[in-house]
Amino acid sequence: MSTVTKIIQVTGTVIPVRGNDIDTDRILPARYLKEVTFSRMGEYPFFDERFDQEGKAKHHPFNDPRYKDASLLFVNKNFGCGSSREHAPQALFRYGIHALVGESFAAIFAGNCVMMGIPTVTVSFNKMEELMKLAESSPKTVYTVDLETSTLSYDGKQIRFDLPASSWNALVTGAWDSMSMLRANLGKVKGIASRLPYMTGFRD
């Protein structure tokens, strides 16, 4: 991308997916990693939890018509643990999820999300429980994740969320698409390389 895309706000309805430690194998089963591009990943999020072996739909929030067309995902603790596969956030994003709200996110998953321009914001256990209940009882509620004010607003209410400062900066300034920013310092990168003994064969 040649233009900078700032991520300031994500607005929409939500899909609540309860449970701690939901790993990326569950979010995106490994067999789909055999596809050469990300283009079809949006068809597969939580595939084995949503469909049985015969392809029959199972009870799952992603199959629930009440949560159709949501743009946000509510989760609990340590979401996205396990495999580093970017295919997992790619699957969620291409399905239509553009922001996640949870108690906590696994390190690599959260990093992948930022690099794709997806905010992963956190609130306390108690707040998350309230949000889950509201999402389940009132699925039409519209939420706005607003990075400028670091708040989640819905039903006239506003609650504060947390997001690591560097992720916040990257999203709000558009620096999440990091390749060009890093590439601009290529001269300095080469300077570092020339000073590291293992890059110069430990020669005197």
Binding site: D21, L33, S84, A170, S178, M179, L182
Partner: protein, 465 residues
């Protein structure tokens, strides 16, 4: 002023610049790639018209999709074939060294890096695979990355990163007989939780870790991510330097002497300051087995399955029992199994195979069990065969395979079927991980896998002495 950790030192020497986001741009000394997670990264480079900044610092192999019985091309699985072709096209176009199926250097990416001496202390190392922390056993800052980060490393040999806190984990005392490196890391994850390492780098130390050889250390560091830590490293010492001496990519002569001095200089200072310290008594560790759907859900072999309400995440435990179909309070010992798997980047090195063969020797796999041993690299396969280990395994009724990731992850023909239960030396017991949505995985050491294969049910390896 307090001393510095290895993490502080490597961070400092590899920082290119403080970025506008507040992150640091960190130079990546070594980049390893494989057929999964990389193809879109090359596509993004082509889209931008960028070249690779340091093509000589990226090495490629093929491991995840490799069939371990019949490797001839084209693969029966057309998707796997297409993926490998894409990698072959990319490494040719961009000029990257590649160890393919016809190379004696081929193997699981986290096995061949150390084996070739590519992995060295004091460097930063990234790979599009969460088990990259394996290489941190050498005192390298090694971690897994996503595809967009693979793109950044290719285009810039650097990454935008946040500095983390450091937790020192001391494993003191000595390990009892029948207790292996795998039991140590499973115990650490059980104690600190699968999310306990979020925001931390782990530094493993203490007498148990110091006494370990490099292959044991790699097993410990391999599973750091299962404890939520992006990196778990061990300070380099003479064990590290002795392992590296003479390996293909390790300097020789005077250069080696200078390398050793540099490697030792990056170890944490004696008075280094840690953000947290955890102590674990090695003599209290038992052969350990997972019973649930994440690697922290583990018990000692003599324990009973825990009651959910006594655990920190009762709902998670209930979900695990629902999948596994077991009851709290029952013993793990004696649980029937269907499949036994020795392999994966956690436990497929020569010493793992020796430990497994030591139990298998003169015994037979239970007739109801499908059992396979999959070496981590083509070289390890050759070395094991030279020692006659393959004969021990096949005599006992194990299948002896070609090198690859095999039954760790359901991306190649080695998979569980239906509700099968697998005693596995791999690293993840996630639902569906071994290729069947209903499949069940119990993680344990290679010796415990073999003991269980022989009994046809979860066994205590200490009874096989």
């Amino acid at each position: 002023m307090a001393g510095r950790t290895l993490y502080d030192k490597i961070w400092e020497t590899h920082t290119v610049e403080r970025l506008s986001t507040g992150q640091d741009q960190i130079f990546i000394g070594l980049h390893l790639i494989h057929e999964i997670t990389t193809a879109p990264a090359f596509d993004m480079l082509r889209e931008k018209g960028f070249d690779i900044a340091f093509p000589e610092r990226t090495f490629a192999t093929v491991d995840h999709i490799v069939p371990t019985d019949m490797r001839s091309r084209p693969f029966l699985d057309s998707q796997a074939e297409e993926l490998l072709k894409a990698l072959e096209k990319n490494i040719t176009q961009f000029g990257i060294e590649f160890y393919g199926l016809d190379s004696h250097r081929q193997g699981i990416v986290h096995v061949i890096g150390p084996q070739l001496g590519l992995t060295q202390p004091g460097m930063t190392l990234a790979c599009g695979d969460s088990h990259t922390s394996t290489h941190a056993a050498f005192g390298a800052l090694a971690f897994g990355i996503g595809t967009s980060q693979v793109r950044d490393v290719l285009a810039t040999q650097s990454l935008a990163m946040d500095k983390l806190k450091v937790r020192r984990i001391n494993v003191s005392g000595r390990l009892p007989e029948g207790v292996y490196a795998k039991d140590v890391i499973l115990s650490i994850i059980r104690k600190l939780g699968v999310g306990g390492g979020r925001g931390f780098v782990y530094e493993y130390g203490g007498s148990v870790i110091e006494k370990m050889d490099m292959e044991e250390r790699m097993t410990v560091c391999n599973m750091s991510i299962e404890g939520g830590a992006l990196v778990g490293y061990i300070n380099p010492d003479s064990t590290t330097c002795d392992y590296l001496s003479g390996r293909e990519f390790v300097p020789k002569g005077e250069e080696f002497k200078r390398a050793v001095a540099y490697w030792k200089s990056v170890a944490s200072d004696a008075d280094a300051r840690y953000d947290d310290v955890v102590n674990i008594e090695g003599s209290a560790i038992e052969p350990t087995v997972t019973w649930g759907i994440n690697p922290g859900q583990a018990v000692g072999i003599s324990e009973k399955l825990p009651y959910p309400e006594k655990l920190s995440d009762p709902e998670g435990a209930k979900r695990a029992y629902e999948h596994m179909g077991w009851q709290p309070g029952s013993p793990i010992l004696g649980t029937p199994i269907d499949v036994a798997f020795v392999g994966s980047c956690t436990n497929s090195r020569l010493s793992d195979l020796r430990a497994a063969a030591n139990i298998a020797k003169g015994r037979r796999v239970h007739p109801s069990i499908r059992a396979l041993v999959v070496p981590g690299s083509t070289e390890i396969k050759a070395l094991a065969e030279k020692e006659g280990l393959h004969q021990v395994f096949t005599d006992a009724g194990f299948e002896w395979r070609e090198a690859g990731c095999s039954m760790c992850l359901g991306m190649n023909p080695d998979k569980l079927k239906g509700r099968e239960i697998c005693a596995s030396s791999s690293n993840r017991n996630f639902i569906g991980r071994q290729g069947s949505p209903g499949g069940r995985t119990l993680l344990m050491s290679p010796a415990m896998v073999v003991a269980s294969a022989i009994n046809g049910k979860i066994a205590d390896v200490r009874e096989f002495a």
